[in-house]
Symmetry: C2
Subunit: 311 residues, 2 copies
């Protein structure tokens, strides 16, 4: 009898869903809207319904589903509980218990960044590796840490919260987490825009960046055009991020850093500037750690969900 | 038939040895000198001989020994090989293969700091925990990282090399590793002496530290006597170390930090100053991570060796 599993990735705007075979090959994928109103009370029932609909349409029985692997944007503990997921408007939710009750299927849950790392290790930019750190450069900076093939969840669900590593004693603004000088304040997409605005106001240099609405993409496009100011900004970005990754290597010493998220669309130039400063600060034994770009894009989470069930 | 195992901890000056029962209770412990001459070629044969002597004296047969767990001061990979152990005058050594050939027993090897962490988790300051970081404050700063009960070795054997986390952009002297601004330059026993000498030369304040030979012990004794300058030094020490541990929590999010090594003899006052700054920099979810003092002292490594075999 053919067996299947589902990979589900809950995001702030959409719920990404995948139906997989036991080899982790994708059979079908689709998205539904995340309804965050009323403290996100509809989110898990909506996920359960879309799973049940798909099973009905494909004529798949419950006993042929090995399970559902689900990623949540927040700290998920090993039991599958979450204390708070800001973007879903959730307080405490027992994700595993609730989704198992709604579907009658086995459920495993993890943090979305960890799930994406698992996906990239399974079928993406770190395929074949067992010690992987995924760095997601998007609106914020997320991390997913895999050691010897296992996700690091952490005692408080904060394993891989690398966006909140303190990297700047001179930062004056607060981070969303309440801290000051967090990595994500200078290396997320919005962080790069902040660096750019500071650089533009401090310098009188001519630059392609002047007169346009600044975005991380514009800055990296500038680097590709050899724009001097854009290069200065990306050097700063690379120094913050490369230094932080050198610290992570002193803790878990991964084989590969996979760089994903919207900012990673900048391509190999991004790796160049991160790796340059990583090597400057890295402990000698870790200097040749591999850097690669994420390959699965928005599908990393659903692949990770499948892997969580199929491992 | 009663079964046994050995825990062996190779240090730069002595080889610590323990014979354990299967409950991890110690039956006998002893030390021999580490002979580092001739590139440390005698070290493993000496360890093998002391094991065989003990078996003979106690009338224990090889088939009743479950194995030998051995800790080495350097980066040991998962196969049990080491590329270099400076304090033993070793280059590449395949520790597991060599000691198995010499003893005819099953051998497992790990980095000494990781083994000590395993020991503290097994029978010491982190007993009952599964996510543990041991911070060893001695001549250098070492780290042992246990996640979900497993040691983190790292791809290049550098897992837990937390003494080389970069914490100071303004450091002018080089670290032994070749880097600059490493944690161990300011928070090891020698690092504390450096901080103290700088503080004494910069300040004209009266202090108990003046006119004596500075040691980490003297500085902490000064704190206990409310010496203002000693307190300033320990505040600096606490800020460097607390900040670095807050970074580690963003990666592996342990349940407990166990503080060991010679400096930890300062006692609870040490925890006070580390925890104060840890909480200042920590990601909110991790602010209540527990801090405790190591309990096994120099025996942590041999307990860890036993645990490696008995797990």
């Amino acid at each position: 009898m053919t067996k299947y599993c589902f990979g589900i990735d809950i995001g702030g705007t959409s719920i990404k869903c995948g139906l997989f075979d036991i080899y982790g090959d994708i059979i079908d994928k689709w998205e539904i809207t995340t309804r965050t109103e009323h403290n996100g009370v509809h989110i898990l029932p909506d996920a359960a319904n879309t799973i049940k609909d798909k099973m009905k349409k494909k004529n798949i029985k419950a006993e042929d589903i090995l399970g559902v692997g689900i990623g949540i944007p927040g700290p998920v503990n090993q039991a599958g509980e979450i204390s708070c997921a800001v973007n879903l408007h959730w307080g405490y939710v027992h994700v595993v218990e609730e989704l198992e009750a709604l579907t009658g299927l086995t459920v495993k849950a993890g943090n979305d960044a960890n799930m994406a790392a698992l996906g990239e290790m399974y079928k993406g930019g770190a395929a074949g590796c067992h010690n992987v750190v995924l760095v997601t450069l998007g609106t914020g900076v997320g991390g997913g840490i895999i050691v010897q093939g296992q996700m690091i969840t952490g005692t408080h669900g904060a394993g891989g919260e690398i966006g909140h590593i303190h990297v700047d004693d001179n930062e004056e603004e607060k981070c969303n987490c309440g801290g000051q000088g967090c990595l994500e304040q200078s290396t997320s997409a919005t962080g790069i825009v902040r660096l750019a605005k500071k650089a533009l106001s401090k310098s009188t240099k001519d630059s392609l960046l002047r007169g346009s609405e600044i975005s991380a993409k514009l800055v990296f496009d500038g680097v590709k055009e050899n724009d001097e100011l854009a290069i200065e900004i990306v050097e700063q970005f690379g120094e913050y991020l490369g230094k932080a990754l050198s610290m992570i290597s002193c803790v878990v010493d991964p084989q590969v850093y996979v760089i994903g998220g919207g900012v990673s669309k900048a391509g190999p130039v991004l790796i160049h500037y991160i790796q340059k400063y990583y090597q400057k600060y890295a402990f000698p034994a870790c200097r040749d750690t591999i850097f690669s770009l994420a390959e699965l894009g928005n599908d990393a989470g659903i692949y990770g969900g499948a892997k969580l069930i199929l491992e």
